[in-house]
């Protein structure tokens, strides 16, 4: 915690006129080579700036490269060209203050909740006592006290995703990457977890990149929504969400909310119309 603060103070006192954004991608391009044909350009020259502690939702048609984008940011995949900067420093490979919450929860079935949450800390080589203490704290934070010794198959989908979130939070990342974290959950659980996520995020703010298919979810959670176009993805629209926090469910029926919702809906629909024949070709 204290080193994060130190880092921020350092960045502030550094002789840079404008503070660099928390996360910046410059001309990121990813091209998958496939035997025979010309291959597949998922996105080209994608440049995004994300401010510190900003909650950014990414939305776009299926297959446009949202997961690929997040995987590259996480270091699980490599861009073919372009750079990623965190706090103005170029990064490559995993680690360095980023943690991912995966869509399928992807817990290890052989580990209990406690051991799953402690996984990232274990990979960092923290001592057993330290990592179990931290893990217990985050298990409590996501509301799973009492399930620390359960195996994933003994938990519901919503509880498993809470474990996934706790696992990512436990390494105390600056940047939290979430790839459709609630995509596999039913609507009620989803609503519940959205509020939980906001609560956790407000008590422990970090920069969040949140991929979703749900327009409502994006507006409800985010400060800013980036709408991707169909493949090859580019930024079709960058929308600032004006609502104050803390937000509540009633927001979802307000006129302004619905207006943003319609705007994004039209963008996505339009995108699909344009992308159809292009994707087929």
């Amino acid at each position: 915690m204290s080193d994060v603060i130190a880092q921020r103070t350092l960045a502030r006192s550094a002789p840079i006129v404008a503070m660099p954004p928390k996360l910046r991608t410059i001309n990121l391009t990813r091209h998958f080579v496939r035997g025979g044909d010309a291959g597949l350009t998922v996105f080209q020259d994608l440049s995004v700036d994300v401010a510190n502690l900003e909650f950014v939702a990414i939305i776009g048609p299926s297959g446009c490269g949202k997961s690929t984008f997040l995987r590259i940011l996480n270091g699980l995949d490599q861009a073919d060209s372009g750079t990623i900067e965190i706090d103005g420093r170029r990064v490559s490979g995993p680690g360095a203050g980023r943690a991912m919450v995966f869509q399928g929860f992807d817990l290890f079935p052989w580990r209990t909740t406690l051991e799953n949450v402690a996984f990232g800390l274990e990979m960092q080589g923290r001592s057993k006592r330290e990592r179990l203490d931290i893990a217990r704290h985050y298990i409590e934070l996501v509301g799973l006290t009492g399930f620390a010794q359960s195996y994933p198959h003994q938990l519901s989908g919503g509880m498993q995703q809470r474990v996934g979130i706790a696992r990512a939070l436990a390494v105390r990342p600056d940047i939290l990457l979430m790839d459709e974290p609630f995509g596999a959950l039913d609507l009620q659980t989803r609503d519940l977890l959205q509020d939980e996520l906001l609560r956790i995020w407000q008590s422990d703010p970090k920069t969040v990149l949140f991929v979703t298919h749900s327009i409502e979810e994006a507006i409800y959670l985010a400060d800013r929504i980036i709408v991707f176009s169909p493949r090859p993805a580019r930024i079709q629209r960058d929308i600032r969400v004006p609502f104050l926090r803390p937000r509540s469910e009633e927001l979802k029926t307000s006129a302004e909310f619905l207006a943003i919702r319609r705007e994004i809906w039209c963008l996505l629909k339009h995108g699909v119309d344009v992308g159809g024949p292009q994707a087929a070709g």
């Binding site: 996480n74 995993p94 943690a99 991912m100 995966f102 992807d106 996984f119 274990e122 003994q154 390494v171």
Partner: protein
Amino acid sequence: MSSTTRLALRLTGLALFLLVWELVGRHLGDALMAPPSAVARELVALAEDDQARATIWQSIAPALVGFAIACAVGMPLGAVMGRSPIWNALLHPWVSTFVVTSVAAIVPILILLIGTGWWFVVAVVVLSSVWYVTLTTYQGAVRIERRWLDVGRSFGASRIRAFRTIMLPALFPYLLAGARIGLTHAIRSMVLAQLFIVSGIGGLLNEAGMDVSTARLLALLVVIMGIGLAASHGLGRVADWLAPWQRGLEPQR
């Protein structure tokens, strides 16, 4: 099905089997098929016969050594085949060929190569069980999910840590299943090998085959079945104890 019902059904099955055997045995006579009552008497005699007991124990030793070698070779081999397409392309055809080849067919060559001593039994045991260990481990290694390895990389796991914390636990159920199948084959082939060279349990079987009564032969058969069952069941227990997470995942046995 509740566990008591299952137990009751199993015991009923066993009782019916023994009853039919007893009836058929009495009808055919000891020379063709001794009834369970005669076999039971012979089992008691075997248990009291120090020398027979020692022979049986000594027979098991080469089977265990062979089994250990089969695991030590088969597990890494299967894991490498499952993770490396190159090694798989190179080795898989051979492993699949050997697994369908009866070891009995290679016995003459083995006898020429290493004679008929203790190591002969070990060699037969290894050659008949190692393929099962290899192929089962291979199946597990192929099934290690990419998303698990991704989680590891995402949290910055080094290769060694990823191996220890992801690959090994993911493989574990398959290692144990492989060990179990391998052990069964090890014990089966142990008897076969000893029959060829007339030693150990094979020697006892051979001797018993010359008796007028089949009671001793059948008693030995029961002993062999018992060893096989105990070994397989014991390993299953070890598996449950070492890997408690998969008890809830498996269909009920």
